[in-house]
Symmetry: C2
Subunit: 433 residues, 2 copies
């Protein structure tokens, strides 16, 4: 069962095309190449290169895990303010691979920088030399297996040949397909917006899956814009917008060994100069970036392994956002709540239990709970004319919204998650899935 | 699939009988009655009375949830140092039932105290009057449904008739069966030990289930001893021993609305007087109480919904116990680890990930990991002659032991849990299971 999320992921941006996937086209300054290093032994595309011929400003947020992959260690050492390339591989996380795993990246960066420099010499009027330290790496896959340096190195010449300087929707789709692992669907989103009078694009692709609980699998998200924005500005607005998007899905990116969300700006659109992240001229860009990140994050949540329903848990009218977030996550992460939703059972008692275990003091007399538009608890009591049949009918929907109204303040936090199905167990108990 | 736990729950006490269940017999001062109030509409026993004719000292640990059931509220109000009865019902948790749910307990305590006083008048030479405040309640079942006061009240006369002043193994088994909900098996344990020269008994029964993660379902544990110990002493030794037993299973009793472990001592064996909990004469009793609690806690963990394997996660040589506990729980609660175990896959990469997400600083160069007797990681590296086939074979066992050696100190903590199977989803996604 795959969720049809056409219905609920349409962005607010009127320019965005409606449909299962938005059609991304060309974005100036980004080049893409996708190939197979045969990492899965089945010839699927498993290596994707994003190449910024004229460089890109960039900013990343990484996993908060205390055991991080070698590629994250590599990225953290890169101090350049402009980057030339991002190489993504699947199948192998390059985590717990020690000094050897890191050395593989040194070797790969050497080869790739030489080959990109060669390519540059042929294709560009004013060729520049690309250094190993101009390259970022993203990896996702099995932990602790030897990193397939040779296989990836072997495919680099082909990757060079396949570089597309002009993209279209098929190339983006190939890239989005090339980075997924057990995902059922590629994840793509876009917005266009204004900075001053200039129209800029914000494109994004992501991978998720395996993340029925927070922190359990690798999330990768890559955002590309042609806006002119410095790495410092990008860092601030990415950090701000990640909290209510990728960090608000029940797989907050902060504790797999490999999680990484990076934004790149090619600076090709000469918008008015932005000197600080709170500049009002960034209002639209901020909103659009939030939309793209949220759109991708929702696709990641709804495509969680085995998901049959997309679920939002909103805690509203809380004293502060932290308490709202704690309660929303407590409900969103409860296997008893998630299995009840899979069973289409409006089992509100389990919601009550999950609220209680969040260890936030609750004024029960002010607590209200809604499933969709159906009030269940009103100020601490089951509503008089509670019609369970009606609510059970609502539970048959593909999208379930649960609203917990604490009635003690004005702060809200929404978490995006999915149900817990037998399919999840099937996927994850397969030997070395 | 039901785990055969004969093999690994035998207690250390040589007096304990080996077998699937230890045979509990009479314990002076405890009377038991079990009946059906037809709460499940299938005539199964669902109400159990423990009656202490001559009173019992007692101590309880309760759930730490911020939403607690009405029976826990009742129990917290009881200030008597001696108790006369404990009434347990299943099917209905009496949680989120508000003032009406509490009033039901007031009414039940009134009826029960009158009927017990009547019974006492007939059966005892020196009859005493039993007050409502001499009664404790334990409930487990669905949250938010009207408490079935009338049905329970209706069965009280029958419960009085069925009171057994002398128990045997069948009566204990009936009581243990009467308190379970979706448990596959009743949970019973016993030890005998000495306090000074006196031999005393420690008997226990428990219920669990639905608790594949911490804090998700109701755990009840009731311990009975004929030792002479005050409520103050009992409170201290219960609190001490609960940490490494019921609070060390991946369902630590602290956050369902109804969790409760209570110890009762009938003071029938005139052991040497114990004035403080650290008295050396309590050494054996402490150890035996720990064994009984751990035995019950393990049975609860291994009988978790859908469990096919019993799993222990030990973090050893940690700087302190808190860090060892955090890491053990992080691994024990990881659905990816639990599904890998269900799939009999020695997927040590997922163990690494779960260690990393615990957010405790790790010195990878000192980290070692064992599955049973099989070394996998030695000082941060996969061992040279790693034979995955051998370890995969080990994973077929019903009992899986994972040892995480941090190599930085001397403190340990073991958590008891089970695997995550499709059966769990089946049980919990059934409409209002």
């Amino acid at each position: 069962m795959v969720i049809n999320f056409n219905n609920f992921f349409n962005t607010e941006n009127k320019n965005a095309k409606i449909g299962d996937f938005q059609d991304l086209d060309h974005i100036d300054g980004v080049s893409i190449s996708t190939t197979s290093a045969n990492l899965y032994n089945n010839k699927r595309d498993d290596v994707v290169l994003f190449y910024f011929r004229d460089g890109a400003s960039y900013a990343s947020v990484y996993t908060q895990s205390k055991i991080i992959s070698e590629n994250i260690k590599w990225n953290l050492k890169i101090k350049s303010k402009k980057i030339r390339a991002l190489l993504v591989n699947t199948r192998n996380a390059n985590a717990f691979t020690g000094a050897k795993g890191f050395k593989s990246l040194v070797n790969l960066a050497d080869s790739l920088s030489v080959q990109l420099s060669e390519k540059n010499k042929i294709d560009d009027e004013n060729p520049i030399k690309i250094r190993p330290s101009d390259i970022l790496f993203a990896s996702t896959g099995t932990i602790g297996e030897k990193f397939p340096e040779d296989k990836i190195k072997y495919c680099l010449p082909e990757l060079m040949q396949k570089i597309k300087y002009t993209q279209n929707k098929y190339i983006w789709m190939k890239a989005a397909m090339g980075i997924i692992t057990t995902d059922m669907k590629p994840k793509i989103a876009m917005e266009e917006c204004k900075i001053g009078n200039a129209t800029v694009k914000i494109y994004g692709i992501a991978k998720g899956s395996g993340m029925i609980y927070p922190n359990m699998a690798t999330t990768l998200g890559f955002i590309f814009t042609d806006a002119t924005l410095s790495s410092t500005i990008l860092r601030k607005i990415l950090k701000k917008n990640i909290e209510t998007t990728f960090n608000a899905i029940s797989c907050d990116g902060d504790t797999s060994t490999n999680d990484m969300v990076t934004i790149f700006s090619t600076n090709k659109i000469k918008n008015t100069e932005i000197k600080n992240a709170s500049d009002k001229k960034l209002f639209e860009f901020n909103k659009s970036l939030h939309n793209v990140l949220l759109n991708l994050a929702k696709r990641v949540a709804s495509d969680g392994e085995g998901a049959s329903k997309f679920v939002t848990i909103s805690t509203i009218n809380s004293k502060n956002e932290t308490q709202a977030k704690t309660i929303s996550f407590s409900v969103a992460n409860s296997p008893l709540v998630k299995t009840a939703i899979a069973g289409e059972d409006p089992n509100w008692g389990r919601i009550i239990m999950a609220i209680g275990k969040a260890k936030i003091k609750i004024d029960i007399k002010k607590l209200s709970i809604k499933f969709g538009n159906h009030k269940i608890i009103e100020k601490g009591e089951l509503i008089n004319n509670y019609n369970e049949e009606e609510v059970a009918n609502y539970m048959k929907s593909e999208k379930i919204d649960i609203v917990i109204d604490l009635g003690v303040g004005s702060k809200n936090f929404t978490v995006y998650t999915m149900d817990l199905t037998k399919k999840y167990i099937e996927i994850n108990s397969d030997y070395r899935s």
